[in-house]
């Protein structure tokens, strides 16, 4: 990427104001997608479910079959933003001894084989236990690109944001249907990499339909930011992805993939089944809107 384009992309995609930084891998990915007229598929996997070795294989397969960003869930004992599917996955992963340090080791080994941007989805306590500075540095060194903390609103995020910034890690913030216009502006300003738009009031999990007021939520965000907007929660089928892909820059699918992992865990066809599903989810995001 030329310097001029880099500066332009940095301005547009990642940092509406302020000094110029090197574009992160997440920023580059969204720029590339935009240039190709595509939207991002963000594929979520719970790290360590059914094992970290499987997670490694699943990340590589997801990236090969069309995931533009992989979101790795760090299992936590009390996942209060998650529905039953991801709760069960977290429990399985914890039973197998998965810890945040081991998830970071897994990412480090993955970096020899893939360039796909990796964002961690975690709760705050494992990060606190690791130590904010140590976490940000270790994660960045391991090749983690972004961090999303499910229970860390902007009001409490300054300490981690400072360490993430220093380490070159994008701290992705979430916007919810209940966020007031004032909060939407605050979050848009604070978020790095992309903005995670929570599509519904509720926990993660599959739903029959895409919420109707999503278009209005996205419009509200577009008015205050040029940062990429990825939509998650409740999106589980290719037709949902297609509908959301018409509005957003990226679509996040979690529980539906995790449920597939749950069903196929231990079978020879696990990796292929997840790969096929990822390919089916990505397909509607390739063409023009």
């Amino acid at each position: 990427m030329s310097d001029a384009r880099l500066a332009q992309a940095t301005d547009g995609a990642r940092r509406p104001r302020g000094p110029r930084y090197k574009l992160t891998r997440l920023g580059e990915t969204f720029e590339g997608l935009r240039a190709r007229g595509e939207r991002a598929l963000v594929a979520y996997l719970t790290a360590g479910d059914p094992s970290l070795a499987d997670t490694r294989r699943l990340v590589l397969e997801a990236a090969r079959r069309g995931a533009d960003v992989v979101e790795l869930g760090v299992p936590f004992s009390d996942p209060l933003a998650d529905g039953p599917v991801i709760q069960r996955a977290a429990m399985r992963a914890l039973d197998r001894g998965t810890t945040l340090p081991r998830v970071l080791e897994t990412v480090a080994t993955l970096r020899a084989e893939t360039n796909v941007p990796i964002a961690l989805l975690t709760y705050y306590n494992p990060v606190l236990a690791f130590g904010l500075k140590a976490f940000a540095r270790t994660a960045a060194d391991a090749g983690v690109d972004g961090v999303i903390v499910a229970d860390l609103p902007p009001e409490e995020a300054d300490p981690l944001a400072a360490e993430a910034e220093a380490a070159g890690l994008d701290l992705v913030a979430m916007v919810a249907p209940t966020s007031t216009p004032e909060r939407v502006r605050l979050i848009a300003r604070r978020s790095r990499g992309f903005i995670y738009l929570v599509a519904l009031t509720g926990v993660t999990g599959e739903r029959r339909e895409v919420p109707r007021d999503l278009a209005a939520q996205i419009r509200a965000l577009r008015r205050v930011t040029r940062m990429p907007v990825c939509v998650g929660f409740g999106i589980s089928r290719p037709e949902h992805v297609e509908a959301v892909g018409r509005l957003a820059d990226g679509v996040i699918v979690g529980s539906a993939i995790v449920r597939l992992v749950e069903e196929r865990a231990g079978s020879a066809g696990l990796v292929e089944a997840v790969g096929d599903f990822v390919a089916a989810l990505k397909a509607p995001l390739r063409g023009p809107r």
Partner: protein, 405 residues
Amino acid sequence: MKRARPRPAALPDAQGHFGRFGGRFVPETLMAPLVELERAYARARRDPAFQARLAGLLRDYAGRPTPLYFATRLSEQAGGARIYLKREDLCHTGAHKINNVLGQALLAERMGKRRVIAETGAGQHGVATATAAALLGLACEVYMGAEDIERQALNVFRMRLLGARVVPVESGSRTLKDAINEALRDWVTNVRTTYYLLGSALGPHPYPVMVRDFHAVIGAETRRQARQALGRLPDALVACVGGGSNAIGLFHPFIGDRRVRIIGVEPGGEGLATGRHGASMTAGRVGVLHGCMSYLLQSDDGQIATAHSISAGLDYPGVGPEHAYYRDAGRFEFVAVTDEEALEGFEALTRLEGIMPALESAHAVAHAMRLAKTLPRAKAIVVGLSGRGDKDVHVVAKALGTEVK
């Protein structure tokens, strides 16, 4: 490092921080509703009509003021300081929980929320919430760990009689901590129509403040009653601490009275050395759970540990943030009392005074007896007797090796 002098009036700050504790660590979906709740509470608090209605219910419905009772025979048995009991066990529904529940249920009604949800451990907060919901005609669902449902069958049935739906929680440790997770998941989903009536002095701001304020009537009455009975303030306050609601209610009005020792009693379970306990102050580290920063029982990599206690109401791996603050500030002391010692406290109070305490409160009784022995008769200790023990009779029977049919 300079130790900050506790100034209760300045706490918490605008974001709900007690020093480094407290705050609001919740999914974004709950942030705007929490701000709305905070504002609604601030208005209600200033509204004389709201305060008058609450005071009326506390008096005529809950049975306040509760007595401050001098436990003569218990004091003699302990040998030393005089032990007084603040009789929250005499409140309607059998525990202090009703104070907070009436306040918050009135607030829910005022905010136009027709559905309330709650979590419960021992079932006391669930029963109190179901009671207030019946009183005000609100729909009520109570989340309760499946293990606690087995331990507290009587309270489960009471809640159902009162018209509440009791939702068993099978996830995690199947106790109070998981019931709070599930209640928060419900609230995230139904936040526009539902009021989350949290029962302990924890959770995201403004809950710790609200719960403390509604229970502060315990300490305020105790001050007046102690002045009457003793002609002065007591020398020590002792209360059990799970999340810490009854304790903060008793303690808070005394924080500025430096000569009054304030002691929280944590569940020591099978003993601190066994690792099977709920003593988050004594054996925990700072972390974030259920929306606030406080002391938590957790693993080295930040997974929340399972608490253990004979009393379901203390079976929680964390503690309210204000307690954590005053512990670090050196104002509150914390000690642990084991299951076995709590049972001894239960038996002592039952046999000597004819008062059967909740197993939670029995922890405080046990420590008060221990403390009284070390002090002269001129000293007075007030125990927060947070609840009555009917609900625990079968647990006590089992622990004593008999079965109640």
